[in-house]
Symmetry: C2
DNA sequence: CAGGATCCCTAAGGATACTG
DNA sequence: CAGTATCCTTAGGGATCCTG
């Protein structure tokens, strides 16, 4: 990666928690929070299933589900089927779904470089080819790390960034 | 995401730290470890710069740099310029570079959903368009979370996965 | 400059027991 | 089933001081 000249001094944006990566890590930066998001992608929606499949205590599950809901990645739904008791559901919001590239990226890295073989892979359900994460620009060019540049975002008409 | 039927029982691969995501989180799952990787992508290579730019103590910097080096994401180089004293350099390995999609993914999520505006963006240095992370299959089809399926990897000729 | 050693504090998380 | 409450252990990480 490289920098626009004006960004040479990182202190203007990198400190005090203003770095976007740091903000994201604040939300899903712990093992269990990320694994809960993994489970949500896998289709898990009930409290007990999160507990069992991530392998965490009910206290940890409760606090993380609450935090992720507050952060807007999950949404809580109470529903009741005919003759059944009421149930809770935690489902992915649009913001939660936006985390998919990160999840798949972590998955791919673990497959490629993890010490233990899990024998599992992610593929395109339609054609069977392995899923990959690519970095591209909006114009469609595939990017390597050398092609990525950080710069100050131009302000919009309201003077905001 | 969905599952191949044989994967309905997660316990075979999801537990005991065999989940690829969990393995990756073990390496870069803490705030400072990920921020060190961010800095490495930003081109930082010296001990003191990691310290200052991530904003961590020397003890924390030392232990994370050692761990990331041991995990194969960074490589330590001792070099000496004409008439200068010897210096250390931490540089990205191929495995470290493979983490780029995750880094950009976290970055993009923070830009889009973070509470604080950092006023910074990542773009293609060549054409100026914003960088994005996409999930595609190897055949090139863009994937949504519904298109991704997990399955047991076919064994190779040696009977391994 | 690049750490190591020590001390101390906080956050993450398990175990167990209890509740609407 | 979906949590709360309490207690306890461990990991992450800052501060300070020291060294090759």
């Amino acid at each position: 990666m490289r920098f626009e000249e004006t960004l040479a001094d990182r202190s203007s944006w990198s400190t005090a928690g203003r770095c976007p990566i740091e903000q994201t890590m604040k939300v899903v930066g712990s093992r269990n929070a990320m694994l809960i998001m993994r489970e949500a992608f896998y289709g898990t929606s009930r409290f007990e299933d999160f507990m069992d499949r991530v392998g965490m205590s009910s206290a940890t599950a409760a606090s993380h589900l609450k935090a992720l809901t507050a952060a807007g990645l999950l949404e809580r739904r109470r529903y009741q089927e005919q003759g059944e008791r009421a149930r809770q559901d935690y489902i992915l919001t649009a913001a939660g779904t936006d985390l998919m590239p990160v999840i798949i990226g972590l998955f791919e890295w673990g497959i490629k470089h993890g010490r233990l073989r899990s024998g599992v892979e992610s593929v395109h359900a339609g054609c069977g080819e392995p899923a990959e994460v690519e970095v591209r620009c909006r114009a469609g060019h595939p990017l390597t790390s050398d092609d990525v540049e950080l710069r100050v975002r131009p302000t919009d008409k309201d003077g905001r960034r």
